[in-house]
């Protein structure tokens, strides 16, 4: 089996649940207490994609309203990115199009998965109404709290990175 390692960065505003998503994915845990992240914390999870053993080295980067405020070196050598927004806070997704555009400018080949987190906070009907208004054309909704779609999101990015 071929072993490959890939660097994944998690981007998005502070408080959108990036750390919680990683905790759910790597340790299957969730804490509803908000603990801010400063700088970068790195975690690693090995998954199997077909005949490949993929080491996903996940950079949990402190949340900022724009990626331009993040040190350039954090993004160096990234193989994939997950851009996380909070469905409850419009400020976290209002400028997502320009954010993605500017990220693509510096890393044109970087696969990016757009994620709307905290869907557990919405009742079903509200959610479907809200998604219509979200400026995320190919977003995936998820809940780090319930675990809904978290594995799917990392799995999807893994496949895109191996393509």
């Amino acid at each position: 089996m071929e072993a490959v390692s890939k660097k994944v960065i998690l981007l998005g505003h502070f408080g959108v649940g990036k750390t919680s998503m990683i905790k759910r994915f790597v340790y299957h845990k969730f804490s509803k207490e908000y603990m801010t992240t400063i700088g970068v914390k790195i975690d690693k999870k090995v998954i199997k994609i077909g005949d490949t053993e993929l080491s996903m080295i996940i950079w949990d980067i402190a949340g900022e309203s724009t990626h331009t405020r993040i040190p350039q070196s954090y993004k160096l050598g990234s193989h994939g990115a997950i851009y996380v927004v909070d469905v409850m806070r419009p400020s976290t997704y209002e400028n997502i199009d320009s954010e993605i555009k500017s990220l693509k400018k510096i890393m044109p080949a970087l696969p990016i998965v757009k994620v709307a987190n905290k869907t557990d906070l919405l009742v079903e009907n509200e959610a479907s109404e809200l998604y219509k208004d979200l400026p995320l054309d190919q977003y995936i909704h998820c809940s780090a709290k319930t675990g809904e779609h978290v594995e799917k999101i990392f799995g999807l990015l893994a496949k895109q990175m191996l393509e």
Partner: protein, 645 residues
């Protein structure tokens, strides 16, 4: 101790230097912060941070550095916030990477507390603002809802006042007139009964509207799904309006797209109700001019057909400020319309809701003083029964009543056996007079006649039918059986409107196919021509319409022959002139299936070449004209029909 020594001693306590080679193999370390000197494997395998950036070291040039501030570090039980700097250096005669780790835990821990407070406060503020916005939206919505409820309440209250008045008037009329009629000393007056009938009818329409709207509002309305012939439905709805329109000098006409399937599946009663309502409105608000109903296929998909109905009048029109309100229930009672034109003001709302509940829609375009156009789009399922009409074999199963006029006993026997086998009901008579007698007694779906019948020949029978019988009998398809195969005989019968001329002895399959064709063509013919338009133009003057039919029969085939000659000599401009000349003739006679051909020819006639689609289209037009002339001849006879002899 000199300054350099002090500096070294200061840095030594919180900075660690590690050196490793290009493959991550450990070379050296001062082990100030954590011990790594006993590492035997590649650092890339042990430290995920290094593993994730190992590609960067290959591109790093000697003397260059990369900085990574504030990295959460957990190595060999050492846990801290550190800044990392990487340099490419020469060390112990090989190219290595120097990894400088500076421990800023205290500084970053303070920063974390500050950042935590800042972030929490910003998030809290943001959520508060969202809540505030939501509260405002909810308040506005409740205010709007409240206003709407009050408005609706007032409209309903006004509506009931008006409707009570509307109901009282005919009820009082009925009571008064009944009282007059109950006076036994007087002879019953027929006018009183007529007035009671009119008042009851008016009352019934008001009550029906109120009940309909109540049913819709209570969500209790149901829709049927049955096969029906939309042309028949439109004709029956339109008939009364044509008559009423004529009385008031208003031309009421219709144009129905030939592409509409013969049978559609839906709720015919509700469609009648919608059309009746809209035509009634059009008639109510039109003092002069015309009312036209156009029906066409808008879209066909997955066994469904979307039909578009347009009701166009030249009436008083609707002002811009009122056009948005006309579909609202209870609205008319607010305006002056009710006092001038009467009515409950519920009709258009009922129409709109009936259409929308069936997946349809209604739009209106209007100009004050010029007229109004209502556009309806309504989906129908295409009936499965259409396949039966289009599939000749299935006619074996269709129950037809057939009259056969044949004097030869063996042929009689053969024909009756065929008919019995195919499940048709059949009457057989031996001479022409008996055929006429049977026709006066009952209705048949098809006539099969021997040409040389005793007492009255086959041709004689047809002549008698054309002159003395009703339109229905005239439309009955006829098949002629003859021993004489000359072209002249065939031509004579075709001109007389016979569906098929068969040579004796006839075999079963030919006869069955001919029966299918004859019945099918008759159904097609029924849809082929629509004289409503020319009747309207001629103000229902039958003589004038007959003359116009004669002109069509005389001139159009000549013009088509001329058109073919011109195309042969490439005279495209002359050909185009002819197309322009004959187009109105087809429109007058309501030959709708000629329209697409004429349009195509108008557009493409320059590009003609022999054997192209243009020639095919002209031939098709010629065929349509031929068939139309046969039907027009029948229609003309119907117009001039004498009483039954």
């Amino acid at each position: 101790m000199n300054l350099k020594a002090y500096k070294t001693k200061f840095l030594e306590s919180w900075v660690q230097f590690i050196v490793f080679d290009a493959n991550g193999n450990f070379v050296d370390s001062c082990d100030t912060l954590f011990s790594i000197s006993d590492c035997n494997s590649s650092l890339f395998d042990d430290i995920p941070f290094l593993e994730s950036i190992k590609e960067l070291f290959t591109t790093l040039k000697t003397g260059e550095r990369i900085d990574f501030p504030c990295i959460t570090t957990e190595i060999n039980n050492y846990s801290a916030f550190c800044d990392y700097v990487f340099y490419k250096i020469g060390y112990q005669n090989k190219t290595c990477i120097l990894w400088v780790i500076a421990d800023f835990t205290e500084h970053y821990a303070n920063l974390t507390t500050l950042q935590q407070q800042r972030n929490e406060s910003v998030i809290q503020q943001e959520l508060l603002e969202i809540e505030k916005k939501n509260a405002l939206i909810t308040r506005d919505f409740l205010e709007y809802k409240n206003e709407e409820l009050l408005r609706l309440q007032k409209l309903k209250s006004d509506f009931f006042t008006t409707i009570s008045h509307e109901i009282r008037t005919p009820v009082n009329g009925i009571l008064g007139l009944s009282e007059l009629l109950s006076d036994s000393s007087k002879t019953p007056n027929h006018d009183y009964i007529k007035a009671i009938y009119a008042n009851s009818k008016h009352l019934s329409s008001i009550v029906n509207d109120v009940l309909d709207i109540a049913k819709i509002e209570a969500n209790k309305i149901t829709f049927e799904s049955i096969d029906f012939d939309i042309r028949k439905l439109v004709t029956s709805v339109l008939d009364s309006f044509i008559y009423l329109g004529k009385e008031r000098g208003i031309l009421v006409s219709s144009q129905i797209d030939s592409a509409i399937p013969p049978l559609v599946r839906g709720d015919s009663v509700k469609l009648s109700q919608v059309l009746y309502n809209l035509l009634n409105n059009a008639l109510k608000f039109t003092k002069k001019g015309s009312i036209k109903l156009f029906i066409k296929v808008l879209k066909k998909y997955n066994g469904t057909v979307n039909l578009q109905f347009e009701i166009v009048d030249t009436g008083i029109g609707i002002s811009e400020q009122n056009i948005d309100r006309i579909f609202n229930a209870y609205e008319q009672v607010e305006s002056d319309t009710n006092s001038v034109y009467g009515g409950t003001g519920l009709g258009l709302n009922i129409v709109k809701q009936l259409l929308e509940l069936q997946g349809g829609e209604i739009k209106v375009e209007s100009k004050l003083g010029k007229g109004t156009k209502f556009i309806i789009v309504l989906p129908f399922r295409v009936s499965e029964a259409n396949k039966e009409i289009l599939n000749p074999i299935s006619f074996e199963h269709k129950s037809l009543r057939i009259l056969i006029g044949e004097d030869d006993l063996i042929t009689q026997k053969v024909l009756s056996e065929f008919m019995r086998k195919w499940g048709y009901s059949v009457d057989i008579v031996g001479d022409g007079k008996a055929v006429i007698n049977n026709l006066t007694l009952g209705k048949y779906d098809l006539l099969i006649l021997d040409n040389r019948l005793p007492k009255l020949t086959g041709y004689g029978v047809i002549e008698c039918i054309r002159h003395d019988f009703s339109e229905t009998t005239n439309n009955t398809p006829i098949i002629i059986l003859t021993g004489d195969t000359s072209d002249e005989i065939t031509k004579q019968f075709v001109e007389a409107g016979v569906s098929k001329v068969l040579t004796k002895p006839v075999d079963a399959s030919t006869l069955l196919a001919s029966i299918n064709d004859a019945v099918l063509n008759t159904e097609k013919e029924a849809r082929h021509i629509n004289l409503d338009y020319v009747m309207g133009v001629a103000d229902y003057d039958k003589e004038l319409v007959s003359e116009m039919i004669d002109i069509f029969i005389k001139t159009v085939p000549q013009q088509i022959r001329k058109l073919q000659q011109m195309l042969r000599v490439d005279d495209f401009s002359g050909a185009k002139d002819i197309i322009h000349k004959i187009t109105p003739n087809f429109k007058y006679m309501g030959i709708d299936n000629a329209n697409p051909i004429l349009k195509y020819l108008k557009k493409n006639i320059k590009k003609t070449q022999k054997g192209t689609l243009i020639e095919k289209q002209v031939n098709h037009l010629k065929e349509i004209t031929k068939l139309s002339i046969i039907i027009l001849k029948k229609e003309k006879l119907n117009l001039q029909r004498k009483p039954l002899c």
